[in-house]
């Protein structure tokens, strides 16, 4: 990042000139391409994830992508393959663990998840140490980097994203139905369990893609925050999905642009801009309901109820 700033000579107030200067560099063009792909997939998959209340699973999948990438670098394979391998294996493992509901079982489940996360991160450190300790790449893996994204990496990101989006488009309606009212969906013959496993796999792919921009520790910033902000603003499914994607794109583009002209990591900007959107959305809604300009149905859980009405009514 220091080299990027040095070579570009800093930002002026002429935004067009700044943009042209930035996009004259091939690695920045690639960064924006990758960022756009990642934002698209983070927005759509993240929207479903927040609706399904699986944000902790998404976080865990992203954390596991870190040892995947570190192990791939150690073995001399491409880090991209490592990200996907780590996340997809973790998604399969989580899908295999049966869901428990009783209180004591649940406390055990959280201990398992915590241990898995810590052990995954510890494996990542081990691989980095075995590789020979290249500290800059460590912070890059954890907190995001946009330097050195190759053409090939962009193609892989695009192919995986296309596959995930196609799969999601096919299963969107039944998945939505199963999410808002699992029992009714199961009674109508929707394969709820199969959909849940399939979605976890898609989530693994998405978490692996997002990790490559925001770093393994900050995927929350793109997967959760825009979706949560959009679901605060509107309860209409199509509108909030579109809004999520737009917020993701704006967050990524602005973060990449700002990070290019500063020395601080891109993950900081992504998480800060995403959090700002969320605070604005939540604050705006609180203000609106306080002023009484909106009907009272916009309570904290009214979103799910309204979405359920839409699904059943449709």
């Amino acid at each position: 990042m220091v080299t990027a700033t040095a070579s570009s000579g800093g930002a002026g107030w002429d935004i067009v000139a700044d943009l042209r200067q930035m996009l004259a560099l091939h690695f920045m063009v690639n960064a924006f391409r990758a960022g756009t792909i990642v934002a698209l997939i983070a927005g759509t998959v993240g929207w479903f994830m927040v609706l399904r209340r699986q944000s902790f699973a998404g976080h865990t999948l992203a954390v596991v992508s870190f040892p995947g990438a570190a192990g791939a670098i150690w073995l001399g394979v491409s880090a991209t393959a490592g990200y996907f391998a780590g996340s997809i294996v973790a998604a399969l493992v989580i899908a295999m663990v049966p869901r428990s509901s009783a209180g004591r079982e649940r406390s055990e489940e959280s201990a398992v998840i915590g241990t898995v996360q810590a052990f995954a991160l510890a494996c990542g450190v081990l691989f980095v140490s075995l590789y020979g300790g290249f500290l800059d790449s460590l912070t890059g893996l954890l907190f995001g980097t946009f330097l050195g994204i190759s053409d090939r990496q962009v193609v892989i990101l695009a192919l995986v994203a296309a596959g995930v989006l196609a799969a999601l488009a096919v299963m969107a309606r039944p998945l939505f139905f199963a999410t808002v009212d699992g029992d009714v969906a199961a009674a109508r013959g929707v394969p709820v369990r199969g959909l849940s496993v399939a979605f976890l796999l898609l989530l693994g792919c998405a978490a692996a893609e997002v990790s490559q921009i925001t770093g393994a520790l900050l995927v929350f910033a793109l997967l959760v925050m825009p979706a949560a902000a959009a679901q605060q603003i509107t309860v209409r499914p199509a509108l909030s999905l579109a809004l999520t994607v737009v917020l993701c794109l704006v967050t990524t583009w602005v973060s990449l642009g700002v990070a290019f002209y500063s020395v601080y990591p891109v993950g900081f900007y992504v998480s800060t801009i995403g959090f700002a959107f969320y605070v604005l959305a939540a604050g705006g809604r609180a203000l609106a309901s306080w002023l009484g300009t909106r009907p009272t149905r916009t309570g904290p859980h009214a979103g799910g109820a309204d979405l359920a009405d839409v699904a059943v009514g449709a």
Partner: protein, 325 residues
């Protein structure tokens, strides 16, 4: 080399190194505190809080470094403040809560910023900056000076003593909050004290295994001990024992294989212990032994009074509190 020839000579040789003595001393005390506190964390189903605190520990420590104050001031300050906040939220704080998740993700993003500020401010003096960041994230137990080790021991032992002192009412309140409250146990106050202890533990464990891995030392031994024994006062000490054992074996592994980071050794051994406990307790032999034990208890209870024993064996521990006036 020597270690492979004769284990005792090797062990003595290992403990001759002053930095390893400090590591063993501090590691033992920290593991004791983490094992005891971790058991209650798992019992209350609040492992997620430990995860959140590990983010805060990272940001607090690096903020202190970036602003040029003592690392430990930032570490303990941030952990204790956020622990009190989480205590105030109480049981509303759950793992899939997007509000809390977003706040902590942003806190971690801030940590990345402080790391970057500190790294660039130190860039003239070599790799000190990134080293400090990596040490906070993944621990530097072998880099503790003897005075640091001593202060860690005092803090960790303090946590352990306070936890043992409030252990009985705390576990009672964690198992059944409403019954404990009805019996006059100060449930809310105990909650706050416990979260402050958890914050201090997170701070002190960050120095041993690092902010990102402290969850391994808090959750894995406790999860294992909870599987092995359902009697809280046995399990809590078992958890502490597993944690201390993990630190000892992990440090020895790191000493024998220098490329293995000590934090990986410690968390790896703790995870392995958890795996073994899962495998053992789901084996047929274990379940048969446990069923036999349960039948014997039930027969004894039947002799005493007609009511069969409660299926939750935990209630037996608090019979005094539950039945007594």
């Amino acid at each position: 080399m020597i270690a492979t020839l004769d284990p005792f000579v090797g062990l003595a040789h290992m403990l001759d190194q002053p930095f390893l003595r400090s590591a063993f001393l501090a590691g033992t005390a920290i593991a004791l505190a983490a094992g005891l506190v971790g058991y209650v964390v798992v019992l209350r189903g609040q492992v997620f809080t430990g995860d959140a605190l590990s983010h805060v520990a990272f940001t607090g420590a690096l903020a202190a470094l970036a602003f040029g104050i003592d690392l430990r001031a930032g570490l303990y300050g941030a952990c204790i403040v956020f622990a009190v906040l989480m205590a105030a939220l109480g049981r509303r704080a759950s793992a899939d809560d997007t509000v809390i998740g977003s706040v902590f993700a942003w806190v971690l993003g801030l940590g990345a910023l402080f790391l970057s500020i500190f790294t660039t401010s130190q860039s003239g003096t070599g790799a000190v900056g990134s080293d400090a960041g990596v040490n906070v994230l993944f621990g530097s137990i072998l880099g503790l000076s003897s005075s640091q080790a001593l202060s860690d021991v005092i803090v960790a032992l303090g946590v352990a003593v306070v936890l043992v002192a409030i252990g009985r009412p705390l576990i009672f309140a964690s198992l059944d909050e409403s019954v404990a409250a009805a019996r006059g146990v100060p449930v809310r106050a105990l909650g706050y004290v416990f979260f402050i202890l958890l914050g201090i533990t997170a701070g002190v464990a960050t120095q041993a295994v690092g902010a990102l891995l402290l969850l391994g030392l808090v959750a894995a031994p406790a999860g294992a001990s909870q599987r092995i024994s359902s009697r809280p006062f046995v399990a809590i000490w078992l958890s502490a024992g597993i944690a201390v054992g993990s630190v000892w074996i992990g440090l020895t592994l790191a000493y024998l294989a220098p490329r293995v980071p000590p934090s990986f050794g410690i968390v790896g051994v703790a995870t392995f212990a958890y795996l073994v406990s899962i495998a053992a307790t789901s084996s047929r032999w274990w379940n048969r032994a446990r069923a036999r034990n349960r039948n014997r208890n039930r027969n004894q209870n039947r002799k005493q009074r007609s009511r069969p024993a409660r299926t939750v064996p935990v209630a037996a521990e608090f019979r005094g509190e539950i039945r007594g006036a």
